[in-house]
């Protein structure tokens, strides 16, 4: 380097420029250098350097650091001027302004939406006055794998309140489909038309107290304390009793006069940020589902909520709950002579979860509604910061890339006496102006995108317009982001030396091109990972939808509410007479989520006392189940109601044969609460999510069920549904006909996969756009830097083709490098994601090639715009001025 021959150490010079104020810096540094040159003539370079450093160090005094204004400035006037200049330079380069602001706004909008989402998730269950004292009980079983679930026996809540002085209040809830909880038909007792409603749950009066449910009508302390009463939400009150107080009126469920409930009160609708959401709460007062149910520890069907007394220690209470386990549950098991008593004593814990933790910290706790996950909150927050960072970096890149344009302006300003501080202020004003415009645009984008994103995330997100902090926070962030994004460009641009700039010898950018390339690689790596991720998620989705399930889901109509039919047999026969209907079966158990499940412990008969049971589904079906559903029998025979002994017969699946280790399954005896004979074995079919291995399952004969499955034998589903509707209306004129197609219900089970896929696709598109903006800026910068070189090449006879190649190949190398980095990363991440699924698609190379190809194409497209423009430019234009 030539500079080291007769110039002082750069670092000292830089240090000096850093601390010294603008007023003195130029002149004093000039003095130092003049002295230094003089010294060089007399002494060694080392000595001169040392003395130079000494000069710099001794200058480090308050007078040199302190800012001073020598010429009077008019801040307002300067600001006006700065804004005017910024505005003009924005207008002069319309395309760059659009890219800069558009890209920035896009990043900001993404960030804002994610912030809204995160805020929504974090405010779950924060609205109770006593939120720090409200807990939900849950079970934890530390067996082979950790299991946790929330259901408890009926008496647990009562025991909790009577035996533990810390407990102020305890209440029970049955939130899932069970007896009248779940979904029902509803009508007023003075009307005949039934309406289908969801959102029924059983609850104790004390639960209203614990959850601090605000009442619209009725007394909050007594609304549910009488048997056969209901509390309905404001929404339902407005629907069934518009404009009146329905307290004391009667609603009839399922068109059954025995299920008449009088309304004890009307509650406010549950807030969107509550982990519970019900429209009908049915009183549990004096309810006993079967004799002895309320005091037995056999059956666990209740969720228990509790409010502790102020100052009570939840951790200590958890310890004490072990005595409840031992005195009630373990004793019950011992009375039953159940072998698992000692195992329970060792591994089964009763635990408490703060109500504020339910939404985000319930991972691993089996719950009826899927909860959020704090890890996703972290992930999304990280993505938000990351996108904001990328947007800022692109902003910086675009600003510095256009520096050649501004260099002359900077030079001229310095010549006529502008100080560095003014220039810094000017460029900062400019970037803050950009930032504010971007923020306004971003808020617009958020408003447009929010409905779509709400759908994507399955949440009702709103902008909190009325919050007092909204405007200050937005304005503050606009300023902050503007300053952060503008800091580097403004210092960079203001550092140009006027002489060099105006002589035209400035070769800026060379030293930061490495950084820029790194940015491009970084952005494209992210993009490619996201593209690969999107492909694989969609592939898994299509794998799930097209997998061989072991049953037919096409051409199947599910008729809901079949339990309300007076005579199912007649209706079924009537359906079978329709030409479009191939088969009908009635059951409540289907391989679709949201239908009934019944898990029981099973043993090979005779081993009850010596072995641990296996958990198996116990489904009651009719004789047409297998044929209608298309489930294949691999051994034995179907259940047959004509054979009397078949009331104690079961058909089991292959997984159960394996789990029970049955050598000769046909004729074997299995036992649960009763003893059954195996008469047939069916092929395994997927009755739970693809995430889990197919578990053991047995089918038993029984009449009745809530769903009638109709197999249609033609492609004309519309016509078939029409015919079925007509039949239904003949039987049940006052009851709406509800049906779904089984394939759609099946697809809905995997909404979360679809959702993840959509979110990934959205992020992938955003990342690609952001990355392309960066690449575009870089290619524009390069093309501009090499304008003269290209012109000369063209004059000397280079073809447009070769120029194009010259300008694009470097970028393609960068994208190639990104792919090399992204492929293993994506492979690792997506293997981890797929590992959640017991049944999954393969990670194949074509996805990677396709994603890489897409990235290269997009990059090529972005770069070629600038390259072609440079290659097609008339060389005379750029060389003329020489």
């Amino acid at each position: 380097m030539k500079q080291s021959v007769n110039t002082p150490p750069r670092w000292a010079e830089r240090f000096f420029r850093w601390y010294c104020n603008d007023y003195l810096a130029e002149a004093a540094l000039g003095d130092f250098i003049e002295l230094y040159q003089r010294r060089l003539a007399r002494m060694s370079k080392q000595r001169a350097d040392l003395l130079f450093v000494w000069n710099v160090m001794t200058f480090l005094q308050p007078f040199a650091i302190r800012k001073r204004s020598v010429t009077p400035t008019y801040p307002i006037a300067m600001l006006q001027n700065n804004i005017k200049i910024a505005w003009r330079s924005m207008l002069r380069q319309k395309m760059y302004t659009a890219i800069k602001i558009g890209g920035f706004a896009l990043g900001l909008a993404t960030c804002m939406i994610i912030a809204l989402y995160v805020r929504h998730e974090l405010t779950y269950d924060q609205h109770y006055a006593a939120k720090d004292r409200i807990y939900r009980l849950y079970n934890e079983y530390r067996g082979d794998k950790l299991e946790a679930w929330t259901s408890f026996p009926a008496s647990a809540a009562k025991i909790l309140k009577s035996d533990y002085p810390e407990v102020e209040q305890s209440g029970r809830l049955i939130p899932y489909e069970w007896y009248d909880a779940g979904k029902n038909l509803v009508r007023r007792d003075d009307q005949t038309e039934n309406t289908y409603e969801e959102g029924f749950a059983y609850a104790d009066q004390s639960l209203l107290d614990i959850l601090e449910v605000p009442m619209v009508y009725g007394n909050a302390m007594h609304a549910l304390d009488k048997p056969n009463t209901l509390v309905i939400s404001r929404k339902m009150s407005d629907k069934y009793f518009p404009g009146e107080d329905p307290t004391g009126r009667t609603l009839i469920l399922d068109d059954d006069p025995k299920k008449a409930y009088s309304i004890g009160g009307v509650m406010e609708n549950f807030p969107a940020t509550s982990h519970l959401e019900f429209d009908f709460l049915i009183s549990l007062a004096e309810v006993e589902f079967w004799p002895g149910e309320q005091d037995s520890w056999c059956c666990w069907n209740y969720n228990v909520y509790t409010r502790l007394k102020p100052g009570a220690d939840a951790k200590a209470l958890e310890e004490k709950l072990l005595t409840m386990r031992d005195t009630h549950y373990v004793r019950y098991l011992e009375e039953q002579n159940d072998q698992s008593a000692s195992d329970v004593r060792k591994n089964h814990l009763f635990r408490m979860q703060a109500i504020t933790d339910i939404q985000l910290h319930s991972t691993g706790v089996y719950d009826i509604v899927p909860r959020g996950d704090i890890r996703y909150i972290w992930l999304f927050s990280a993505i938000a910061c990351f996108i904001l960072l990328l947007a800022c970096i692109n902003f910086i890149n675009l600003s510095t890339a256009r520096s050649a344009n501004r260099a002359k302006e900077v030079g001229l300003r310095k010549v006529v006496g502008s100080l560095r501080g003014y220039l810094v202020r000017q460029f900062l004003t400019e970037s803050i102006l950009y930032s504010i415009v971007s923020f306004i645009l971003a808020v617009g984008m958020v408003l447009l995108a929010l409905p779509y994103f709400s759908l994507l995330a399955g949440k009702a997100l709103t902008v909190p317009w009325t919050a007092w902090w909204l405007v200050p926070v937005l304005l503050g962030s606009a300023l902050l982001v503007g300053v952060i994004a503008g800091l580097y460009p403004s210092f960079y641009l203001s550092s140009f030396r006027p002489i060099e700039v105006l002589k035209g010898t400035l070769r800026q950018g060379a030293r930061s091109s490495g950084l820029r390339s790194a940015m491009v690689v970084f952005q494209f790596t992210t993009s490619i990972v996201l593209i690969i991720g999107t492909f694989i998620i969609y592939r898994q989705m299509s794998f799930i939808l097209n997998a061989r399930l072991g049953f037919d889901k096409e051409h199947m109509v599910m008729i809901h509410g079949a339990n309300t039919l007076k005579d199912q047999k007649v209706f079924k026969d009537e359906l079978l007479r329709l030409s479009a209907v191939k088969g009908v079966t009635t059951t409540s158990y289907l391989p679709i989520r949201g239908t009934m499940r019944d898990n029981n412990g099973f043993w090979v008969d005779g081993k009850q006392k010596t072995e641990k049971s296996i958990g198996a589904q116990n489904w009651t079906v009719d004789e047409d189940y297998l044929s209608t559903m298309g489930i294949k029998l691999v051994a034995g025979r179907n259940l047959d109601p004509k054979i009397a002994s078949d009331s104690q017969a079961v058909v089991i699946n292959q997984a159960m044969v394996k789990a029970l280790n049955l050598k000769e399954p046909l004729g074997a005896h299995v036992a649960s609460w009763a003893r059954f004979t195996v008469v047939g074995v069916v092929e395994d079919f997927h009755f739970e999510s693809m995430k889990e291995k197919i578990g053991p399952l047995c089918l038993r004969l029984n009449k009745g069920g809530a769903i009638m499955m109709v197999k249609v034998n033609s492609d004309d589903m519309q016509g078939a549904v029409h015919a079925i509707t007509k039949t239904w209306n003949r039987f049940m004129p006052n009851q709406p006909f509800r049906y779904t197609f089984m394939d759609e219900s099946y697809a809905r089970m995997y909404d979360d996969v679809q959702r993840t896929g959509n979110i990934f696709a959205t992020f992938a598109i955003l990342a690609i756009i952001v990355a392309c903006l960066g690449l575009f800026a870089l290619s524009a910068f390069m093309a501009e830097q090499r304008t003269k070189e290209i012109s000369i090449r063209l004059v000397l006879g280079a073809s447009i083709n070769s120029i194009f190649r010259l300008l694009t190949q470097n970028f393609l190398k960068l994208v190639g490098l990104s792919f090399v980095l992204a492929a293993p990363l994506a492979w690792y991440l997506m293997s981890a994601w797929l590992a959640d699924y017991a049944y999954r698609t393969e990670l194949s190379w074509d996805v990677f090639v396709l994603s890489g190809g897409i990235a290269v194409l997009i990059a090529l497209f972005t770069v070629s715009f600038q390259s072609l423009r440079a290659a097609l430019a008339n060389p005379a234009q750029s060389l003329r001025s020489e």
Partner: protein, 112 residues
């Protein structure tokens, strides 16, 4: 003389600026002080005084005279203002008055 106290070093700097007339900048002042007084002054001391004197209004400055050996950097050139000239004049007048009041005998080697 109220409120316009001029330190000894400051007075020297002011005088040097006067001597150098059109080319009074940091390094030149250091050189001139060296030549005139034989003192080896620090660059920072000179600049510090210059800044203070300008603040007091005795000096005015402008940028100019960039040169190759300065790495292309301009000098800050100082000139005496009217106030600067007056304060030098005042200082000299005061001294003269005081000189005159010293009895001749002091100078002529008489015993005290």
């Amino acid at each position: 003389m109220k409120g316009t106290y001029l330190g000894e070093f400051e007075e020297l700097v002011l005088l040097t600026v006067g001597i150098l007339f059109d080319d009074a900048y940091g390094l030149a002042i250091v050189d001139e002080l060296d030549r005139q007084t034989g003192r080896n002054v620090m660059m920072s001391a000179v600049h510090k005084s210059l800044v203070r004197l300008e603040e007091k209004g005795y000096l005015a400055s402008r940028m100019g005279g960039a040169a190759e050996e300065r790495g292309g950097r301009a000098k800050r050139l100082y000139t005496l203002t009217a106030a600067g000239k007056r304060v030098l004049q005042d200082s000299r007048d005061m001294r003269n008055t005081m000189w005159k009041q010293v009895p001749k005998i002091v100078w002529e080697g008489g015993k005290a």
